[in-house]
Amino acid sequence: MVRARQGDREAFSQLIMQYQVPLYNMALRMVGSREDAADITQEGFLRAWEKIRTLRDAPFKSWIFQITVNLCYDHFRRGRRYGVMPDEEQGGKIVGLGIALPDPQERAEANERARVVRDSIEALDHDMRTALVLRDINGMTYDEIAGILGVPLGTVKSRIARARAQVQESLQRNPDLFPTRREDAHGD
């Protein structure tokens, strides 16, 4: 970090390597299009590179995520529609070791589940979507999300809960793909 802040490009390249996948995937789930997500991520790194000397005590992770989240909001303000994603397996390469799905029907179902989940994220308003993505895609803590979004912890908690409730409703409209337990009558 110190070397990157002093203008060491190699050191900054290490930061790019470390954060490119989580940042790109955050942007991808925010805007939906791989191309737009890559553009946003690239611009986020460029802005961070320009400004990193001004970064003092704040953690780089929160800072670069805040820059990129703001770029996503700029994207929304320009009225860009949510990107149409092809099936996961037809598009970008998947990072890490996934579970092999040799059965074509299982593969088709997995793709369909992913499509429904993506659609349910798209249906969220921007604030809820951002909080949900930072939590459930990027695995951030509520404190980190509050710092990135500049909102109180209670707001983060509430946005995530409401977003999940809305996603849950969408998933429950597809019981074949997402079988869920019916709620029992209250009380034991």
């Binding site: 203008g7 490009r9 190699e10 900054f12 390249s13 790019i16 996948v21 790109y24 995937n25 991808l28 789930r29 791989r34 191309e35 890559a38 991520t41 690239q42 790194f45 460029l46 802005r47 590179w49 320009e50 400004k51 000397r53 001004t54 970064l55 003092r56 704040a58 800072w63 805040q66 703001n70 909001y73 700029d74 303000r77 970008g92 390469k93 998947i94 990072v95 996934g98 992913a114 989940v117 949900l132 459930d136 895609i137 803590t141 509520y142 710092g147 500049g150 995530i160 809960a161 999940r164 998933l171 429950q172 997402f178 869920t180 337990r181 709620e183 029992d184 209250h186 009380g187 034991d188």
Partner: protein
Amino acid sequence: MATEPTPDQLSAYVDGELQSSERSQLEAHLVTCSTCRSRLDALRQTVSALRALPMESPPRAFTVPAQRRQSVTRNWAPVGWLGGAAAALLVVAFGISQFHGFPAGASTASRSNVSAGAGAASRAAALAAAPIPQPSNGAFAPDHASSVLNNDVLAGQQGTVTAPGASSQSLTVSTDAKTYAATGVLTVRIDQRGLTRAEASTVRLLLTRGGYAVRLGAPTNQAGFPTAFEASYSIAGMPLPTPRDGSYSLQVTVDLASGSSLVAQLPIAITP
């Protein structure tokens, strides 16, 4: 917890974000309330479905220019420093600093026509000013050139070709944009892997449209040549066919000792 937990509390419980006392109360309530246990199960399934979305690798490499643009000194505050208006100002400042930051010796056309956006401008400005020899074969000479880091591609677009049966031999070509103004600057980056110096030195760049091609000279005097280098060409000076705007193809060819060649092609659009 005498009353049912709120949706916020259940959601925070799934995330391990409740205070210990609140968590204990909620867990005590769950023991006696099947409805809340069902709600919790459903919530957990929803979270699992969200987290099952695969993490994808980016479709291209990300990079930053060798030299940072000068920016006003301002310590980062944890919240909201890059709001909409500030971001707009930043973009303007970005372009201005680039204009003034262009290396001495750049041609007027190069300075005034970096038109592919702030990112492309910064990359063009990052090139070290270096005297470029006129190609002996009459090819169109670059205005600027530099050596580049391995694995470093420009953000506009990229293409990689590998030798059949020898995947360690590859040619990667990237450009700083896909679309250029007829008065803009085309920056090309070449990265050759697993080739002998003799093979890599055969690299040739052509900007083609229909049956016509402009030969672009490679910066043979750069330290990075021939394995990893970058060159910028002022489009205004190129002997392009009329009308100058249209769909072109950047074709980069390297001859291999085996008698075959690696050929990478990238589409280039030139606008009026």
